[in-house]
């Protein structure tokens, strides 16, 4: 860690958080291992911490599992979409290499993870104030709904801000606001599509009343997020 700190300028990480285009440009231009490690470390730490808070409501073991799974969602999504994102950018007018696009997306997730890490004391406060899980708690219980909404709000804010930070860089890079917007939207859509499904596969993150505490159950590989949403909407409309 000391070696990492010595090779990285102490101001680089705050500059990344401020989304300074010049700093982000340096990160993309220079392929340095210490920056990759810093990004991965921030994602593991920030998202892991937030994940642990999410799972804490149920059980410390669930906190451990969610703390591992949440960074995994981000990393699997980044890697799974890396090829697609690198293809979409040049087609939309921004010439980037696979490594550059991977670094850019990793940086946005790094910012989001740092935000999540910063939100985790607040989320922990929300968890602490939520009535504990009892035998009568169900999926329709208000406390569970409150926790779900709280986490969704924190994660959405972190995700949106992480991506919005990317806009000035893309605008400068491409020299066109329209290209920057299109690339950002395409990357967002691709990450949302895969990210939602990865979340679905790796659930539960908070709690599943039908199962004991476990990392993954075989039934969690069934179905898809969008199918369930579609079915729910269809049931709602037909009732």
């Amino acid at each position: 860690m000391n070696r990492l700190a010595s090779t990285l300028d102490a101001q680089e990480f705050p500059a990344l958080l401020r989304a300074e285009p010049a700093a982000m440009r340096r990160w993309i231009e220079q392929n340095r291992r210490d920056r990759w490690i810093l990004c991965l470390g921030t994602i593991v730490l920030g998202a892991g911490l937030y994940g642990a808070v999410m799972g804490w409501w149920r059980h410390p073991l669930q906190a451990l599992f969610t703390g591992i799974k949440f960074p995994l969602v981000i990393l699997i999504t980044t890697l799974g979409n890396s090829l697609l994102n690198a293809m979409l950018a040049p087609l939309l007018g921004l010439n980037v290499t696979l490594r550059q696009s991977l670094m850019v997306i990793l940086m946005t997730f790094t910012i989001a993870a740092a935000l999540l890490g910063a939100f985790s004391p607040l989320a922990l406060f929300a968890v602490w104030n939520t009535p504990p899980l009892t035998a009568t708690t169900g999926l329709a219980s208000p406390e569970y709904g409150f926790l779900q909404l709280t986490h969704v709000a924190f994660i959405a804010v972190a995700g949106v801000l992480g991506n919005v930070c990317l806009a000035p860089l893309l605008r400068q890079w491409s020299g066109s606001a329209a290209v920057a917007r299109n690339v950002l939207m395409a990357w967002l859509a691709a990450n949302l599509l895969l990210g939602s499904q990865i979340c679905w596969l790796l659930r539960p993150f908070i709690w599943d009343p039908a199962r004991p505490v476990e990392f993954l159950g075989p039934e969690y590989f069934r179905g898809s997020f969008y199918e369930t949403v579609f079915d729910a909407a269809r049931r709602l409309l037909s009732s």
Binding site: L84, N95, G175, Q197, G223, T228, D231
Partner: protein, 259 residues
Amino acid sequence: MSDYNHPPPLPSASLPFSPGQPAARPPADDPADQQPIAGFVETVESLLRQPRRLMHQLRQPGRGHAISALLFMAILCALVYGLVVGTFSGGTQLWAAPVKTVVGLFFAAAICLPSLYIFACLGGSQVRLIEVAGLLAGLLALLTVLLVGFAPVAWVFSQSTKSEVAMGALHLGFFLVATCFGLRFLLSGFTRLNTRPAGLSVWTLIFVLVLLQMTTALRPLVGTADTLLPGSKEKKFFLTHWSECLRQPAPEGRQALQR
């Protein structure tokens, strides 16, 4: 659209990434666009980053090699994506879906090529059939390369859902997005040739309809059936087939989820 026609220069050692400056738009006869393309990887790179370089190659005397490379790339990428489509059902579909994907795409392109050429001529163009074929090969190559980009996402979904309708809709969505980019390549190719075929919008509609009908004519692509291809009494228009699929009861997994 103009952004696509004039993409910013490729960051390289000699031309470093410079976000501080607006991307320069190279002139039409940029020497970089006239560099010969060698090898599979360079063809993919040109297709994605330097389409004008590829279009320049398609106008040169040795264009046969470029077209062959594009067609080879399209076959290879369609096979890869078809394999991902086949992993949903496994078994026979592991080889049938890739073959059907290749056959469907190439058959659709082959039957649409004459009309594209005629439309180009009707627009007053001096374009040759081989040039139009080259652009169509570029469309197929770009479409299938993008599908390979979508393949990891499609695979994740195919391993987790049991719903043929959901998987079909997902593949269809990916196909439509990839086709849009392919059609943009075709349009910019015609712009490069200083021509715009009369009724290109009509041709685009026809091409998309043919591709969609292929999904029904070559069924099952997703899921399984007793036969590899539908019999003569099972011919359907794709909209009919899709509406029938939507009316089917939910699979066991989904019913369980609904409970």
